[in-house]
Subunit: 340 residues, 2 copies
């Protein structure tokens, strides 16, 4: 009875069968006669045998591991997504190798290389942009990748986002209907498609009413930058009467500046609308009106597409957009008779 490591060969000897037979017993889908199976399982149980996943992966070429790269974790939207991802992938028999990486080109490249060295079957990148060189490299390597919550111009990479353009548009419509005319936008980082698309939709929505944004400032997905933006918007003699903030995480910072530093009442003096509908948005302290990004469905779409690519069922890249409703709470004035 070997102490540290017990291999399939040990089990084979114990059961009086060959090593391949042991392998077959532990490989789903392989046929073995009932009494063989019984003997092998008994021996395995007795010795405490468990298949070595590494050795298995080496020969099958399937590591049953997905690489996950995350840029921001301070935004709770991503922790919610991480939770769903873990559950969904685990249910499908996959494990997750996770890396938190800053969104710099060099960092991302090295991190992806790390994952490839570990023979991951696929890669999910959340809120990370990639160079086309890198996506080429992945294509060459045959490792499928999905961008989560970030789009890409390159049509050959698949991305899963919410309908950011439509979302921005909905917000504009809501605020205009609410009687606002001086509507500013503290945008998501303009280096990210997410930030750009929400802005574009917002502008389109205003344009439909012959309006333009009162002001647009890049909040860089950062609390500090957004707080600074909020202060600067109100340091002029023509402050906005409503602000659409590029995501909830930034919106909380804006709300706090307005309430606690500037002493403004929300929504009496200023309406605030966010984007994501993270858990905190529903808290009494914020009651944030916001566009819901359905993390569940986004995760499901991501995993489904990725696994289809791995299985070879699906070969085409897709740009998947998932629609989300405007969730109306108390941080923005509600238009009379609003029903939509």
């Amino acid at each position: 009875m070997p102490v540290g490591k017990v291999t399939s060969l040990d089990v084979a000897k114990e059961a009086g069968v060959s090593q391949p037979t042991v392998s077959r017993v532990f490989t789903p889908g392989m046929k073995v006669s009932p009494d063989m199976e019984r003997r092998v399982r008994a021996a395995a149980e007795k010795l405490g045998y468990r298949p070595n996943t590494l050795a298995r992966s080496l020969i099958t070429g399937q590591s049953k591991t997905i690489g996950l790269i995350l840029a921001y974790l301070d935004n709770p939207f991503y922790t919610e997504a991480l939770e769903k991802l873990s559950q969904t992938l685990r249910a499908k028999g996959y494990n997750i190798m996770i890396i938190l990486a800053a969104n710099h080109a060099g960092e991302v490249d090295s991190v992806v290389q790390d994952l490839l060295d570990h023979q991951v079957d696929g890669i999910i990148m959340a809120s990370v942009s990639i160079s086309s060189a890198l996506s080429d490299r992945l294509k060459e390597e045959g490792v499928p990748m999905v961008l989560f919550n970030r789009g890409q111009d390159d049509p050959s990479v698949t991305s899963v986002t919410s309908a950011n353009f439509d979302g921005g548009k909905k917000v504009a419509e809501f605020l205009v209907q609410g009687g606002h005319r001086k509507i500013a936008h503290i945008s998501g980082w303009q280096g990210a498609s997410t930030g750009r698309d929400r802005l574009a939709g917002f502008e389109a929505g205003l344009a439909a009413h012959g309006l333009k944004p009162h002001a647009v400032v890049d909040g860089l997905f950062s609390r500090e930058a957004s707080a600074a933006a909020a202060r600067s918007l109100f340091a002029t003699d023509a402050p906005p009467d409503a602000i659409f903030v590029g995501n909830d995480h930034m919106a909380f910072a804006v709300i706090e500046v307005l309430r606690h530093e500037l002493g403004l009442d929300i929504p009496e003096e200023v309406s605030i609308v966010g984007y994501d509908d993270v858990t905190l948005a529903a808290w009494d302290s914020f009651q944030l009106t916001t566009v819901r990004q359905p993390a569940n469905r986004m995760v499901e779409a991501t995993v489904e597409h990725l696994l289809d690519r791995i299985a070879g069922t699906e070969t085409q890249a897709e740009r998947i957009e998932i629609d989300g409703p405007l969730i109306i709470r108390k941080s923005a004035r509600i238009p009379k008779g609003w029903k939509e």
Copy 2:
């Protein structure tokens, strides 16, 4: 030029050397002559070779991967810890296989088995308790494990926590000095050492002044349970004038119930103290007085001990406690002349 996979043998042929030589070039610490190294690196570069970590792990027995099991992710303390863990381990050359698991015995066992099958070099369990059977199994397997933010009676498993008893005591002292006499406690889950130790310290701190808790309710580390507890505490004719809540995450729920449902002023009518000092605690909306759990130092201690165990440098289990200060903000009355 092989397309999908290029192996060390391909590089060897290209460079006109043997496969072991290629291996040596890519194994730090192995000596190779300069011109060999040059030729091999050139060939590797040309073919796009990268060592296969799986094959390497299979033979060395070192996967350079750490398994991480997390129970709660809605409590932001753990996302902060996760961030540090990722950075620290990556800097040391380790990757992370992450699993989010509910804190049920069966679930945890199966998850640990999963990690063992993947040949992880060590395991970190954050806020999950384990059976002694499981810790025996790990000992037998020779895979070191560290409990993060959770203690264990068994002295043979190492745990890293903050000084929970002292923390609870500090809070009691602070509130008593502040003139409070009806001090209640909405505790952390009493199934967890963390929750129990904070309560015990709190009671000891009160006892030093001849006091007892006004009431103690288990908040189960849950927002809902804590909110319900807060409501029940004020549904009597003798409500508390201060509440020590078992962690920040629960404290936010309590604050919201008091402010928005019961219309109470904090800290004028009730003082609230939390535990953890998560990022949100410093936000203007909460300004929560709380005991800081130094996530950075806890992570460093965890990683250092774990890697020492893996290297064999350290063989003894330890119970590591890291002290954290009381961070005074505005959610609790500040004693006159408080200096400590």
